[in-house]
């Protein structure tokens, strides 16, 4: 048993594990890389190797700095693994005045162990303001939300470039993705009225193409184009995206054709579409990485270990070398060579 443990603790295996991790990292780099899950193999080997070394290697156990560094490293590896298994990563668009809906979140990545609790998150999107500098450089983003406070009231929050909102453990971060939305009403032949928001392409990135395909609840495919009477975009000036009281019309093509202003409606197959109001929508990135602060702490523990090792090992080494060979010409006396 001890023999096996000692074999597993081999320092050559550590080097092989590091080399294998490097190979996987290169292969996984970029968009066309291999699945990053393969990194689990070399990291798994390093974890086993390190655990075995912590159990058997005297040199590692007796040098406090090195011990702390490697324990920190081990924790980073383990926490990274747990993070991959428990993480959630997705994005969502929420319209001003509308409520966040968990089912609207598009999932990008979700760990096996992640148990979805997004439906416990409740907030209403408030006003959105994004500053632009000349040349369409994005400045500050401020997105106001109101979070339902356990039935007691609402708590106003602003999500910005540096401020995220952590709701129910999920972090909501504002993205560069945002644009105009039109609130439309739909009345089918059954007389029921429902309202929804139609999100146009990201603005001002796609200011030239504010068009979108939309299928009515009755199944008719239409093309909707948002026509802004006074587009807010000022390519060479400072301006702010935020106003929703702009004059606009909605151009409908692809079957039933018309140009509608706010308050107007159009008869289409199976019902009526009415144009209610102009709004903005905000794109959020939603992630759940509760172990990240611990990973950071483990990484700093490792760094602290390195500093300790430097003090107890290298500083002594350098001092004793200096004592036994006082500096004369320098490391290499080149003139003498």
């Amino acid at each position: 048993m001890m023999q096996l443990l000692k074999k597993m603790a081999s320092l050559r295996l550590s080097l092989a594990g590091m080399a294998a991790l490097a190979v996987v990292a290169v292969a996984a780099a970029g968009r066309n890389g291999i699945d990053t899950a393969y990194a689990a193999i070399p990291i798994g080997v390093l974890i086993v190797n390190l655990l075995a070394a912590l159990a058997t290697n005297r040199s590692l156990r007796t040098q406090t700095g090195l011990l702390v560094f490697h324990v920190g490293l081990l924790l980073v590896f383990l926490l990274a693994g747990l993070t991959v298994l428990s993480r959630f990563d997705g994005h969502v668009e929420v319209v001003q005045g509308g409520e966040f809906a968990a089912q609207a979140v598009e999932i990008e990545e979700q760990g096996w162990l992640h148990s979805g609790r997004l439906d416990r998150v409740h907030f209403v999107q408030g006003p959105i303001r994004v500053d632009y500098l000349p040349g369409l450089r994005r400045g500050a983003t401020r997105s106001a939300i109101e979070v339902a406070n356990g039935g007691v009231g609402v708590e106003p929050l602003t999500i910005g470039d540096r401020d995220t909102a952590v709701l129910g453990g999920y972090r909501f971060a504002a993205t560069f993705n945002k644009g105009f939305a039109v609130i439309v009403g739909w009345q089918g032949h059954d007389g029921r009225v429902q309202y929804g928001s139609i999100h146009f392409p990201s603005y001002p990135e796609n200011d030239w193409n504010q068009r979108i395909d939309w299928t009515t609840p009755a199944g008719e495919a239409l093309v909707l184009e948002l026509q802004l009477g006074e587009p807010p975009i000022r390519p060479n000036e400072t301006w702010t995206l935020g106003r929703t009281d702009l004059p606009f019309t909605l151009r409908v093509t692809g079957g039933s054709d018309a140009v509608l202003a706010a308050g107007e409606s159009l008869a289409v197959a199976g019902g009526h579409v009415s144009v209610e109001a102009l709004r903005l929508w905000m794109g959020y990135r939603v992630d759940y990485l509760p172990l990240l602060p611990w990973m950071l702490a483990a990484a700093f523990l490792a760094i602290g270990g390195l500093a300790l090792h430097y003090r107890s090992h290298y500083l002594r080494l350098a001092k004793s070398a200096q004592r036994s060979h006082p500096v004369k010409g320098g490391m290499l006396d080149v003139t003498a060579a």
Partner: protein, 263 residues
């Protein structure tokens, strides 16, 4: 400070680097004289580039973090500064100025050839982790440069290597490893706050991870294979600097990754 004055300051720095480089090549100068000239030239370079950076910072209301010009400007400054401090502390590494000065001269010339226009820093980039990341990165690169220069000199004439020179090299390399570790960790924390991803296996991150593994692996290998040829270990030190140099000055400008999310 106007862009023209900034240009003059850069030119002064390049001229000083040229002078220092040429002075280092004169065979008859003693080590002490050569070190005095190198340190004097580099002190001038650090002052001139420090003024250029401060002037640019005030004018553009943002630090030199983004463009190739920014990165070359700030690193020529910081490499010079780290060299002065490192060889002030560790006298035995002073002769490395023979390699460091020509390299900085090359970077200075390169600096004069790239467009100097500032590009606004995306609002999300500006958070405290950026500072930790950038500062530790600069300390790392500076120390790694001194170590690589020392390694090249030992490889070129092994007979002249001294025990204290060797000890100085490896303990400085260990500090470089520490600084690199801080840079890596702060970079991940910064990426998480700036664009929501702490690690995304992009070219730059992978290249940084490779450098970290190479340095850590080299330190490890010296312990694992105690009889390892010193030549191999020194070669790995040089290799890690080359990789780091490519990561700092090559890769970021091949990918547009960090620049996405502008509009």
């Amino acid at each position: 400070m106007s862009p023209l004055l900034e240009r003059y300051a850069v030119m002064v720095a390049v001229a000083l680097l040229a002078t220092g480089t040429v002075a280092g090549l004169i065979p008859s100068t003693s080590d002490t004289t050569r070190h005095r000239i190198a340190t004097g030239a580099l002190a001038g370079v650090v002052a001139a580039l420090g003024i250029a950076i401060a002037g640019r910072w005030l004018r553009e209301s943002q630090g030199p973090f983004l463009t190739m010009y920014d990165v070359l400007l700030s690193n020529t400054f910081s490499l010079g500064l780290v060299f002065i401090v490192a060889t002030g502390v560790s006298e035995v590494l002073r002769p490395t100025s023979r390699i460091v000065l020509p390299l900085l001269f090359g970077m200075g010339v390169w600096l004069t050839m790239v467009p100097a226009e500032a590009v606004p820093l995306p609002a999300t980039f500006d958070n405290p982790w950026l500072w930790v990341h950038v500062l530790s990165g600069k300390v790392f690169l500076g120390l790694c440069l001194v170590c690589a220069a020392a390694a090249v000199m030992q490889l070129a004439s092994p007979g002249d290597a001294s025990e204290d020179g060797n000890a100085a090299l490896w303990s400085m390399y260990f500090i470089a490893f520490m600084a690199h570790t801080v840079m890596l960790v702060a970079g991940a924390a910064w990426a998480h706050t700036a664009w929501g991803r702490f690690w995304s296996w992009d070219g730059l991150e992978v290249s940084t991870l490779l450098t970290w593994l190479l340095i850590g692996g080299t330190l490890h290998a010296r312990v694992t294979f105690r009889t390892m040829q010193e030549r191999v270990a020194l070669g790995l030190v040089v290799g890690s600097f080359v990789l780091a140099f490519l990561t700092f000055f090559g890769l970021p400008f091949l990918s547009i990754g960090p620049h996405k999310g502008f509009v």
